[in-house]
């Protein structure tokens, strides 16, 4: 027995000398534990060494708001004027969709031009869907919006929609301009790339804090945060789309004698449309996600309903609003995707305007007709309240029923996991010496990508310790670690199953595509319903939200293994199991790890939102900063989350690249 054991170790070492290396590293870490007495500063970062970065940031922001003078105008005037312009846009879209517009007729008289009738909006969207794709899409979009009317969510949904209607075009416009600038000037691209990286990894709450500080509480601040949040992907998409325009097309543009402006706007941007539309779709979905979360700084609408319900634990109301968000998300996603995939259609010249644009004319006719009849029949203008259906009672009862019948089971699962996995792991991570963690990560960096990676990783880790967020960061790490393991445990088998069976693959695709369109907020509702608040609830929400990429990448990774290799393995007499374990999985692993990487990114963004259900990690730090409008605290904690994300991303990507190269896959 003993002999076999030692032989096994020798065998493992013989094949993997790096294992010895890591064991030595582990031993050194344990030694550091023992050195607690000798080198206490290496175990726990001394509080007197903390750099008061958060106060510096706060002071800077105060200076910016109160004293900064940009020459022609002060910073405050600058934000005020932006605020004024945005407010004007918002008021206009809000008027059209929700409140109507009051037109003064001189003196006391006012003419109240009503907002778009619910019938008109539904009809307009359904016609739009039909003209873009087909009846099926038209039906889907129609039903989605009809749901909002019937279930009494129309008012809130229109508030949310009016923010989106303003934020999306602005986000697209600014993203496009930044992307073009980055395409034209490589130095600009080099300058903004790290900034975009940071913006995409900083948790959403962290955006809210400075925006709140600059613009105050209200729809304008929320809309601004939404717009800024959706900028990075549009900027990236634009730069990439322009770089992907075939050289010959650009050369043709030059040969036709285009000026720089003509070349960009008449040749390159239209040719880049397919990739640009991917960016547009992302802007829409991110805006929806953000406008829900931005209800914390006064966005109102569906997000506010959910937030309000979560705070009161009013499950039924929250769930209804959550479904409304889901429905809105699905409708907007499918519409924008259909539009993105639409190729221009041939139209005969020399026919009348009506014949050329039948859909547009029909939509306009319906708008006019419903507006006019709306004056006479109120039910046409606004969906009659007496006809709304509410299901909140049903949901309340369902949850009560589940809690009565399954409370013991759920509670047993919860406490079992908490006591045996979560808490021990948390304790372990918290007791790790910070210097050892930094050293380990730096070593991993050296092995996977060389000195630059190592230094970068060490610096990012050090940032967390130096700004005094180590303990909270470890709690975040523990939550995210457990969640990712759990998500992989659930997601990988599903991915493997989907890879092996085309029907399952299609079904899974539809489900995960839909899941991915849902704003993060929505995931909190059922979790809170079943598990109340705490680390366990947070973990479940994180797992649910971050499950999609691991399924997608596992499926894709296995599917992209060349068929000839599978055929060779089959010819060699492998069983299905052997093919999976010995051929497909090893070859798919680099791809699967990229999925894990994505899962970590998504998980972290969700983790911060779960601060609402009472975690004690970095997310909570940002959340507290938000409620206190403490800019420095929020930004620094937010950047710490980004640091965790980037350390994980850099290391995993480096490993995946190295491994792919070894396997000859890249």
């Amino acid at each position: 027995m003993r002999a076999t054991f030692s032989r096994a170790i020798a065998y493992a070492f013989g094949r993997r000398p790096e294992l010895v290396f890591w064991l030595v590293v582990l031993a050194a870490t344990v030694a550091l534990f023992a050195a607690d007495e000798l080198l206490p500063w290496a175990v726990e970062y001394p509080s007197e060494w903390v750099i008061p970065l958060r106060f510096w940031v706060s002071d800077f922001m105060k200076w910016l708001i109160n004293e900064a003078d940009l020459g022609l105008f002060t910073f405050k005037q600058f934000t005020r004027s932006i605020s004024w312009v945005f407010n004007w846009f918002l008021a206009a879209s809000f008027g059209v969709l929700s409140e109507g517009v009051k037109i003064p007729l001189g003196g006391e008289a006012l003419f109240h031009l009503p907002s778009l009738s619910w019938i008109a909006l539904i009809a307009m969207l359904a016609i739009m869907a039909y003209s873009i794709r087909d009846w099926a899409l038209s039906l889907l979009v129609g039903i989605c919006f009809l749901y909002l009317a019937i279930f009494g969510q129309w008012g809130s949904a229109m508030v949310t929609l009016s923010s989106i209607v303003v934020a999306v075009p602005l986000g697209i416009l600014f993203g496009l301009l930044l992307g073009i600038l980055a395409y034209r000037h490589p130095w600009f691209e080099r300058a903004i790339t790290p900034l975009l990286d940071l913006m995409q990894t900083v948790p959403v709450f962290a955006y809210l804090v400075p925006v709140l500080f600059m613009f105050g509480f209200g729809p304008v601040a929320a809309m601004t945060a939404t717009m800024i949040y959706s900028l990075p992907p549009m900027t990236r998409c634009t730069t990439m789309a322009l770089q992907l325009v075939p050289t010959e097309i650009v050369e043709f543009g030059n040969m036709a004698g285009c000026s720089h402006r003509q070349l960009m706007w008449k040749v390159m941007v239209p040719s880049a449309r397919p990739t640009l539309m991917v960016g547009v779709n992302q802007v829409i979905m991110l805006s929806l996600n953000m406008v829900i979360i931005a209800s914390m700084i006064g966005a109102g609408g569906l997000g506010f309903d959910v937030l309000h319900a979560l705070r009161r634990l009013a499950i039924g109301v929250g769930l209804e609003a959550g479904v409304a968000i889901t429905v809105l998300a699905i409708a907007l996603d499918r519409l924008s995707q259909a539009y993105a995939g639409k190729a221009p259609v041939r139209v005969k010249k020399k026919v009348s305007f009506v014949r050329r644009h039948p859909h547009l004319v029909a939509a306009l006719a319906i708008i006019v007709a419903t507006t006019v009849t709306g004056f006479l029949v109120p039910a046409v203008a606004d969906y009659p309240e007496s006809l709304t259906v509410t299901t909140s009672g049903f949901w309340e009862k369902l949850v009560t029923w589940i809690n009565i019948h399954f409370f013991d089971t759920l509670d047993a699962i919860k406490s079992g996991l908490l006591l045996n996995v979560l808490i021990p792991f948390k304790r372990f991570l918290l007791s790790l010496p910070w210097l050892a963690v930094m050293g380990l990560l730096a070593l991993a960096g050296v092995r996977l990508g060389g000195w630059r990676l190592s230094l970068g990783v060490a610096a990012m880790t050090a940032f967390v310790a130096v700004t005094g967020n180590w303990e909270k960061a470890m709690i975040s790490t523990y939550l995210i670690g457990v969640s990712v393991v759990l998500a992989s445990g659930i997601g990988m088998p599903i991915g493997i199953w989907a890879a092996g069976n085309d029907r399952v693959h299609r079904a899974v695709q539809v489900i995960i595509d839909t899941l991915q369109t849902l704003p993060a907020f929505v995931y909190l509702i059922p979790v809170v319903m079943l598990f109340r608040v705490g680390d366990f609830s947070a973990m479940i929400a994180v797992v649910a939200y971050s499950l999609v990429p691991i399924i997608r990448y596992t499926d894709h990774g296995i599917r992209q293994v060349p068929p000839s290799i599978i055929e060779a393995a089959t010819a060699a007499g492998c069983t299905h199991r052997q093919i999976l374990l010995k051929v497909q999985m090893p070859l798919a692993l680099p791809e699967i790890m990229l999925g894990v990487n994505q899962t970590i990114m998504l998980g972290l963004s969700m983790l911060v939102i779960t601060a609402l259900v009472g975690t004690r990690d970095l997310g909570q730090e940002v959340y507290i900063a938000l409620t206190k409008a403490d800019t420095g605290r929020g930004i620094v904690a937010g950047v710490c989350v980004a640091m965790i994300a980037m350390v994980a991303d850099r290391l995993i990507s480096a490993w995946s690249t190295v491994r792919k190269k070894q396997l000859g896959l890249s």
Partner: protein, 360 residues
Amino acid sequence: MVSLKSGSTSEPTDASAQMNTAAMICKGVWKVFGPNAERFLAEHDSKASYEELIAAGLIGAVRDVNLEIRQGEIFVIMGLSGSGKSTLVRCMSRLIEPTAGEVFFEGQDLLKMPEKDLIEIRRHKMGMVFQHFALLPHLTVLGNVAFPLEVQGIDRATREQTACELIELVGLKGREDYYPRELSGGQQQRVGIARSLAVKPEIWLLDEPFSALDPLIRREMQDELMRLQNMLHKTIVFITHDFYESIRLADRIAIMNNGGIIQIGTPEDLVTNPATDHVADFTRDIPRPKVLSARSVMAPVDDRLTFTSSVPAETKIEVLAADIVDQKGPIGVTDGEGKIIGQITPEAVFDVLLHRGTKE
């Protein structure tokens, strides 16, 4: 005994003196990719072999190209992929900035021209056709053909009328409202051709226009090009990697290899007098009766014989073969004034037809 026109190299002399006949003149044009290419060239007095450049970590895509393109001729630049032919044609239109050299077009050096003037020349005097068509996906056939006029600011009615005429010229009438994706490859290239003609260019650059098409369509398009050229008489620079295509279309061919021009001449020159083995490799398998003329195969006149019939010296062997076989004896070859300058025997024709040995 074989009379040859000036063969392997044509040295352009003073630019202005040649403006009557030359549409474009390239003098010492270099395009070297890599760091500090300009300095390297300056240090080496614009003389560096392909290997020397490689050793310095540079790629000589175009090396010291000197040529002149005559008014109204079809000038084919032929070479394998990577020989630098596409880079050269882009240097001629300054789509790629040459590292050194001069490109004279209408007496002006394009390379010293400010951007504003260059845009004017491209807008009015140059047309280009691309290998992968480079049609704008969001515009109809009509919109694509009218595009070069649109960027000049010409009003819609005028530009669409011009475009319609061109669409009819290339045989796509009735498809004005189609989008490029609805057309076959051959049709798309017809749009590309119509579009490049929209500005009535003086010089017409065609960069492997038929390489992306099926062989049958390619042949049809070559015929189409010849038909258009017989109507329009443009100065054409035609890039190809296909030697058959070159001999079908070319008045003169320039053969490129490793960025340099090896030989410039008529198809017949290249076949009868290949400058290097590389050129000979290209010419080896081509159908000689189509290329060789009576002048290339004739023998000195034997005074004792009288000829029952005679042909002009430019007649291709392909054309006279049947007659001479019927004659069963030699026939005379006449120059432009009808004077007998040589004779052709049936044996000589058989040699050409059977690809037996080479003349000389």
